[in-house]
């Protein structure tokens, strides 16, 4: 199930995974651009405004009714970062026309709606509708401010921000309240044109239709677009940290959230990244990892404690939620377990468990169109094209020594703690 790749125009590719495995299909149109302070908010806002109305279907109600009649086809926005690349755009999910009860062309209808959104949006006096743009600006600001609602993910994001405060990776894909406020319906419309001209566009389809049929439809969608020069994409990697910073913040939380950020010294584009994957599994992912087995099971210091790596940027954050008075014990144990891996103290169970578990994770990707797409986008940004199956094969060649070597490359960078307010008093 490797994707078949077509070039539609300069900087526009189509990837098709044609499979009868699913009753639903999905098609995503992803814009890939450098993550920048000046454009992050505009990119986030753009998809939201495109979803508000098209020339033919000017309101959300119109679009929604149309999609409902296409058997609950959905079109939503995508927005995430991979390293210092912002990936945003539109994503659709719809059932195979075979299951339509009235012969409706679900694929054609859904792709038609996506094309309307992208190329025939709702325009007033040569720009986006001001009311829509202002409304979505205020929603985006709510989203930015709402990051604090989820304390666990907030503590992770804050650690990323502090670690990479002078690097593009530290930017929030949503932008900041200030950058959102500066956007007008006119500037956003200009930005839309620029994106169509300059962004790298990866279209991804997973479903039952043949590659030829999809190719025709996608070519139609992008017809007339040519001579594009997409911006190059890259991620600046700092292989090791120079010093350790500690950041403490307070909020009305019951539980202290601890995030320990490392530079990993290894990134996805390295030929030996697969060794790092096994290291990260042994140390901190899943239920047989050292962090789970020791910090949680043995010492019962927490409910969750895991390592979250960012493959493109070469960083990893260990996140946990702990009792305030057990803060030192937890922090010590998390670092101690890393030393254990560095010193080669890895049991056969831990080692075999990690390999088996990773293999399972890789193979499960084949059951999820979303995960397949995310996998190949990540790989292509790192200049690779190995499949999950290839990765599963590679990790079987990793040794315990390799894992220790990977661990030794880690350097501690930033320790971020979100503490309960009471302590402050």
């Amino acid at each position: 199930m490797k994707p078949i790749k077509f070039t539609i125009a300069d900087g526009i590719t189509l990837n098709v995974i044609s499979t009868r495995k699913f009753k639903t299909a999905q098609l995503a149109i992803n814009f890939l651009v450098p993550l920048r302070r000046e454009t992050a908010a505009k990119n986030s806002l753009l998809s939201a405004v495109l979803l508000r109305g098209t020339a033919k279907n000017p309101t959300i109600a119109d679009i929604s009714r149309k999609l409902q009649s296409l058997y609950a086809a959905s079109i939503a926005q995508t927005n995430y970062k991979r390293g210092e690349v912002q990936v945003f755009g539109l994503y659709s999910n719809f059932i195979d026309s075979k299951y339509s009860l009235d012969g409706c062309d679900i694929l054609g209808g859904t792709l038609g709606m996506m094309a309307e959104m992208l190329f025939d949006p709702y325009i007033i006096d040569g720009a986006f509708c001001e009311e829509y743009v202002e409304g979505e600006k205020s929603n985006l600001i709510d989203k930015i401010n709402g990051r604090i609602n989820n304390k666990n993910s907030y503590a992770l994001t804050r650690c990323h921000e502090e670690m990479c405060r002078d690097e593009a990776f530290g930017l929030d894909i949503l932008g900041s309240e200030e950058t959102v406020k500066e956007i007008t319906h006119l500037s956003l419309y200009e930005h839309h044109k620029e994106i169509i001209e300059k962004a790298r566009i990866d279209v991804f389809y997973v479903g039952a239709e043949s590659p030829e049929v999809i190719l025709d439809k996608v070519k139609d969608m992008f017809s007339g677009i040519n001579g594009r020069v997409p911006e190059p994409l890259s991620t600046n990697v700092k292989r090791s940290s120079d010093s350790v910073r500690e950041i403490v913040e307070y909020d009305s939380v019951e539980q202290t959230k601890l995030s320990i950020g490392f530079r990993t010294g290894t990134v996805l584009s390295d030929s030996d990244y697969y060794k790092f994957s096994v290291f990260s599994e042994v140390y901190g992912s899943g239920t047989t990892s050292k962090l789970f087995m020791n910090v949680r099971e043995k010492l019962s210091l927490c409910y969750y404690c895991q390592a979250v790596p960012e493959a493109q940027k070469g960083i990893m954050v260990v996140i946990s939620g702990i009792e305030a008075e057990k803060y030192d014990a937890a922090r010590e144990e998390i670092l101690h377990q890393l030393d254990e891996v560095k010193n080669g103290n890895i049991t056969d169970d831990e080692f075999d468990g990690a390999i088996e578990s990773l293999c399972g994770d890789y193979m499960r990707i084949y059951d999820s169109p979303d995960m397949l797409e995310a996998w190949y986008i990540g790989r292509s940004l790192a200049g690779r094209c190995d499949s999950p199956e290839d990765a599963a094969r590679m990790i079987k060649t990793v040794t315990k020594e390799d894992i220790s070597e990977m661990a030794k490359k880690l350097t501690l960078d930033t320790i971020y703690t979100l503490k309960p307010n009471e302590e402050d008093k």
Partner: protein, 429 residues
């Protein structure tokens, strides 16, 4: 001794087998061509089942809040001392468990060695091992789990709403209990709950993926012992149709107030097919009245009163039933007012027949979509079975739902005395 039936749906182009084991355990075997296979072993026992007795017992037993969830954590412990996750690690399965208001489930997903993993699942769930020491250890871990949820505004919003809707029903209480309630848990109480609810006739095994009946049943024969089938009598408190308290408010560090509107429903039919039909009718209503094609959402969104969609979901089973509509707003009270007005208008004038027919298609398509994952299929089988339904029933029921039936369900459900509003807002506001 095992009886096997094949169940098919021509419309969905899907089929599975139901086997009734001599122990009373129902086993669902659903062959499906996917890379991963999934197994779930579940008991009809959740956080609301905390007053119960077995047929023939004179008195009801009342147990501390959070015990079903605590028991779920503790079953992973084995007498041999080997951690269950460690055993699964050798087969490469990814294992987990969860406890809801009315079920506890143990599950795994794997891409290889399915039967070896199934053996682990059947083995550890049927071999409880509780000691003072291992109970004490778990109290620390679960206390942190409870505190993690305490820090989640969504959890606070939801339980606030349940506390407003219900006076006595255990759904008011966090599934995990409180740090205080779990401190009263002992190995003896755990064994009592285990022996009551983990009997084969109160459980279901559901497997989906690269699986077959014969090999699955061989393992069931090996691990599931036959014992006397005793009826479990659960004592659920009776609730008045009106809400316990119409408002809940709590301060929390959130950017914008979060709100959830609840509608308490005490009209719960004993006929499972009628419950399933009503459930689907309310799904249609929720999508039609609060979804993105509806007037209420578009008015509120256009005016900036809400900044994202209105999430609506209906929970309908024998132990509780409520409809909930949530979002965030700078003025939840105003949204609530508009919600009430909108419902009154629908009561008076009805809804569009065209909208109704279109949304029926949506509900049908959502069901079709749920057959693309071994996890979703195996999980839905359990959920449906605990509600005395089959996984293909919904697609057959949808065509029987007409406008008049749905309007009648609406009129009975949307009664202002059964509305409650839960709000989480920032202390600075």
């Amino acid at each position: 001794m095992t009886e096997t039936r094949k169940i098919e749906s021509a419309l969905l182009d899907e089929s599975y087998y139901v086997c009734t084991h001599k122990s009373g355990l129902e086993v669902y075997v659903y062959p499906k061509e996917m890379t991963s296979s999934y197994a779930i072993f579940a008991t009809k026992y959740g956080s609301v089942d905390n007053r119960f007795k077995l047929e023939g017992d004179s008195d009801f037993t009342e147990v501390p809040d959070g015990i079903a969830h605590f028991l779920e954590h503790k079953l992973f412990e084995t007498e041999e001392g080997e951690d269950t996750f460690q055993r699964y690690a050798r087969t490469g399965a990814s294992a987990n468990a969860y406890t809801s208001f009315n079920q506890t489930a143990y599950l795994f997903s794997c891409t290889d060695n399915f039967y070896a993993s199934l053996e682990i699942l059947l083995d550890f769930v049927t071999k409880p091992y509780f000691t003072d020491e291992n109970v004490k250890k778990e109290q620390g871990i679960i206390a942190q789990e409870i505190k993690m949820y305490d820090d989640n505004p969504g959890t606070n919003l939801f339980y606030g709403l349940m506390g407003a809707l219900y006076e006595k029903n255990k759904i008011r209480t966090n599934i995990a209990g409180t740090v205080e309630s779990i401190s009263h848990i002992t190995p003896e109480i755990l064994y009592k709950c285990y022996n009551t609810f983990y009997s084969p006739s109160n459980m279901i095994l559901s497997v989906c993926g690269n699986v077959d009946v014969e090999r699955t049943m061989e393992l069931v024969d090996k691990y599931i012992k036959t014992s006397e089938i005793k009826k479990i009598i659960r004592d659920y408190p009776t609730e008045s149709p009106s809400v316990f308290c119409p408002r809940f408010e709590k301060t929390f560090s959130v950017a914008k107030p979060l709100f959830e509107i609840g509608i308490k429903d005490t009209e719960i039919s004993l006929d499972p097919r009628e419950r399933a039909k009503k459930n689907l009718a309310v799904d249609i209503l929720n999508d039609m009245l609060f979804g993105k094609s509806g007037k209420l959402f578009n008015d509120l969104y256009g005016e900036g009163l809400i900044s994202r969609g209105l999430g609506a979901s209906f929970e309908h089973n024998l132990s509780f039933s409520f409809n909930a509509i949530s979002s965030e707003s700078s003025d939840p009270e105003a949204v609530f007012g508009r919600f009430c007005d909108h419902c009154e208008e629908v009561k008076k004038n009805g809804f569009s027949k065209e909208d109704f027919e279109r949304i029926k298609k949506v509900i049908y398509a959502d069901i079709v979509k749920s057959f693309d994952s071994t996890e979703e299929i195996a999980t839905n089988i359990v959920w449906q079975r605990f509600n005395d339904c089959g996984i293909f029933d919904s697609v057959d029921i949808i065509p029987t739902i007409d406008y008049d039936y749905t309007k009648d369900v609406f009129d009975k459900l949307f009664v202002p005395s059964s509305y409650a509003l839960s709000i989480i807002r920032n202390p600075e506001e």
